[in-house]
Structures are given as structure tokens and as C-alpha cells.
Amino acid sequence: MKRTINLTINEEAFEAEAEPRLLLSYFLRERAGLTGTHIGCVIGECGACTVLLDGRLVKSCLLFAVQADGRKVLTIEGLAKNGALHPIQEAFVQQYGLQCGYCTPGMVLASYSLLRDNLNPTEEEIRKALGGNLCMCTGYVQIVESVKAAAKKLQQS
């Protein structure tokens, strides 16, 4: 039994049909064509599919798309505005907060959620907030540095 699902994705209305068993992560990728939401484990452990749902950070693989019906989603594609990177994205490029980049959208969105509530996080707060995002490349040092640099940028702006 397919259902019509209405979402606001990155501030634009989006409607598509899906079976109830379709996960939000696949809905975003396959129906909405937003492939920046990555799939790493599909059991909520790696954080690559992290998005914001009604402003709250969630793992989109732990949610059926129907559960998100009528709600607002922010994906990595919604961060840069008018061709300009978001300060967090800039910081990740400048501080080398990435290697293969597969975990990066999730890392950036988790940082976004953290810095929205706390513009001056301690290293421990950063590590706690991003603890749900796995990265096998970086050893996380430069990711933490990127978040710190992003916080500085946001404080100044």
C-alpha cells in the first residue's frame, strides 16, 4: 500500500509516493535525488545519514519516510546558500576536517546542530555531540579542529 508523503526538504515542498517500508534515508536519496545523505550501516550506528527533522538531529535510517510525513527536513544540500558555503562547511575544507568525505555530510550537520545551541563548545562537548558519527579515515583530530574553527567563524558573524 503506497502512500503519498509530503515533506518540506531544505525549505521546499516535496511530495512523492512510497511504500511504508521505505526508510527516510532512501526516500531522500532515491525519491528526492539528494544523494548527500549517505548510507553506511542502516542500523543507526555510523551517522552518515544524519539529517535534521523539525530542527532535531536524527539518523534518517532509523525512521520510515512515512513517520516524517508533514515534517521539515534539512539535508546537507540545504546548508550552502546562493552558491556560498555555510561557515561550517568552509571550516571543514580549511581545517581538513575530512579525508574520504563519506561521513562528512553527517559530521557537518551534527556540528550545525551543536553550534546552533552552543556557539562556544568545549572539546569534550564537541566529541560528545559528534560521537554518533563514525569516521575511519581521520582519527577525528582535524574534525574537532574544524568544529572549533567553525564556532569561531559563527561567533564573528
Binding site: 511504500e19 511504508p20 517500508r21 551517522g47 538531529l57 532509523l62 525512521l63 520510515f64 513517520q67 555531540a129
Partner: protein, 250 residues
């Protein structure tokens, strides 16, 4: 994953009716964080999924000094963690809930889903038991209230009966002074499930006395072994020989 029909009742009564109608083939979904994984692993293959997420007020948290804390089953872990009354009057619960998994799991998972899953590896159960929490369950036919301690039967087994929905958790206001602690032992990674978790509450006379006179609440939740071949709790001596340090008195 199997195909299933998805219903979103607007009231608990409607939800009970769906459950009754679809008896064996239906599963309830609240946050879904655990159910989804089990469905993906084909451990559960329900043909009907009934969502409780759109029942008005099913996620509310209220506090009254006489009545205590009432948490509706649909409240998310994060809501409980951030609730001012929880923080002020139930520091053990605040301490416990802020340590459950990570924020984005707490943003999704509900307390009702957590308790009904009966997963001994998760944190809230032990602390709620230690706080003498009681729960209310309802079905089309009857409503009952029981201490949470009685609800847990075994690993992943609860006293949830066919057709029943957990609707509320009530935690009485603890008498002061109150000593409390929640600690968990994470064997491998900080993001791991605990091998052992202990919640401890000390009231009145027990405070200030020697540690062994403390009334530590233990529940099935504190015993867990992850892998078949990994040593279980008995190999960790502090579990059986000492209580956790009481660092918090409020």
C-alpha cells in the same frame, strides 16, 4: 524487510482497537529506533505497523509535587533529559537520560518503546526502578498499573500482554536527602552498549552509613552479556563486591 500496512491512530482507544483487530500480526511503533533494526534484520516481520506518534499529548511530561512525575510513553529520551522538572527533582533520571546513546538517538527513541523492548543493555530501566517508578498499561478491555520492576521478566521479555499499550510512567517524588548514582561499564567504546549498568538510590537513614548497608536497587537490567563467547558479568568483581561510589547527594 516485509511489506506492511501503516496506521496512525489519533487516540489511544483507536490504537487499542487496531491492535485488537490485527492481534498477532501488528507491532506498535513509537520512535522506531529499535523496531526498525529488528525489522531490517527480519527478526520481526509485522504485516501491520501502528504508529503512536500522532496521538495528541502522548509525548507529554508533567510534574506535580504530590503526584510526582508523569511521563507519557511517547516522550522522547531527549525530552525527558531536557525537562526542567526532571532536572530539578529527579537528578538521577537526568543523569541517566543524558547518557543514553547519543543526542540523535535520544531525539528519536521514546521511553515507552525503550521499556517495552525490554532490552537489558539500555540505561533507563534500572534508574526508573531505583526511583520506584510504576507504569500504566491499557488495552481495549482493561487498564492496569504495576511497579516497573515487575514488568521486566527476562532479556527482551516483558509482562506486556497481547493488545496492551504502555501509556504512562509515574515516578513518585523522592524524599530528601537523596543519594544517587548511575554508572555503566563500557568495555570497548564510549559509544557501546553497557556491559553492566547500575543505578543506585539511597534515602534517609542509609545515607552516611557504610556502603554495604546501602539499599541498592538491582534489576534484570544490570546483567548483560553481549556476545555468546564473551565473559558475562560474573567476571567483573566490582559488580558483586562493591556498590558504585555515591558522589551525588541532593
Amino acid at each position: 524487510m516485509v511489506k506492511f500496512d501503516y496506521f496512525e491512530p489519533k487516540s489511544v482507544e483507536q490504537a487499542c482497537a487496531f491492535l485488537e483487530r490485527h492481534a498477532d500480526e501488528a507491532k506498535l511503533i513509537a520512535g522506531g529506533t529499535a523496531l526498525l533494526i529488528w525489522m531490517r534484520m527480519m527478526l520481526l516481520n509485522p504485516h501491520v505497523v501502528v504508529s503512536l506518534a500522532r496521538i495528541p499529548g502522548f509525548d507529554s511530561i508533567s510534574f506535580d509535587p504530590k503526584d510526582g512525575l508523569r511521563i507519557k510513553a511517547g516522550a522522547r529520551h531527549r525530552d525527558i533529559e531536557l525537562d526542567p522538572a526532571v532536572r530539578e527533582h529527579y537528578p538521577l533520571l537526568y543523569e541517566t537520560f543524558r547518557k543514553v546513546a547519543q543526542p540523535r538517538i535520544r531525539n528519536m527513541g521514546t521511553i515507552g518503546g525503550n521499556l517495552c523492548q525490554g532490552d537489558p543493555l539500555t540505561d533507563p530501566g534500572a534508574s526508573l526502578i531505583a526511583m520506584d517508578a510504576e507504569i500504566t498499561l491499557t488495552s481495549s478491555k482493561a487498564k492496569r498499573t504495576l511497579p516497573l520492576e515487575k514488568f521486566f521478566v527476562d532479556y527482551y521479555q516483558t509482562d506486556l500482554r497481547p493488545g496492551e499499550i504502555l501509556i504512562e510512567i509515574r515516578v513518585p517524588l523522592p524524599a530528601r536527602p537523596l543519594g544517587w548514582a548511575h554508572i555503566k561499564f563500557l568495555p570497548r567504546s564510549q559509544e557501546d552498549f553497557a556491559t553492566v549498568g547500575v543505578a543506585l538510590v539511597l534515602r534517609g537513614n542509609a545515607l552516611g552509613k557504610r556502603r554495604r548497608s546501602c539499599a541498592a536497587k538491582r534489576s534484570p537490567m544490570i546483567e548483560s552479556g553481549r556476545w555468546r563467547r564473551w565473559p558475562r558479568m560474573k567476571s567483573i568483581p566490582w559488580m558483586t563486591t562493591a556498590a558504585p561510589p555515591i558522589t551525588n547527594v541532593t
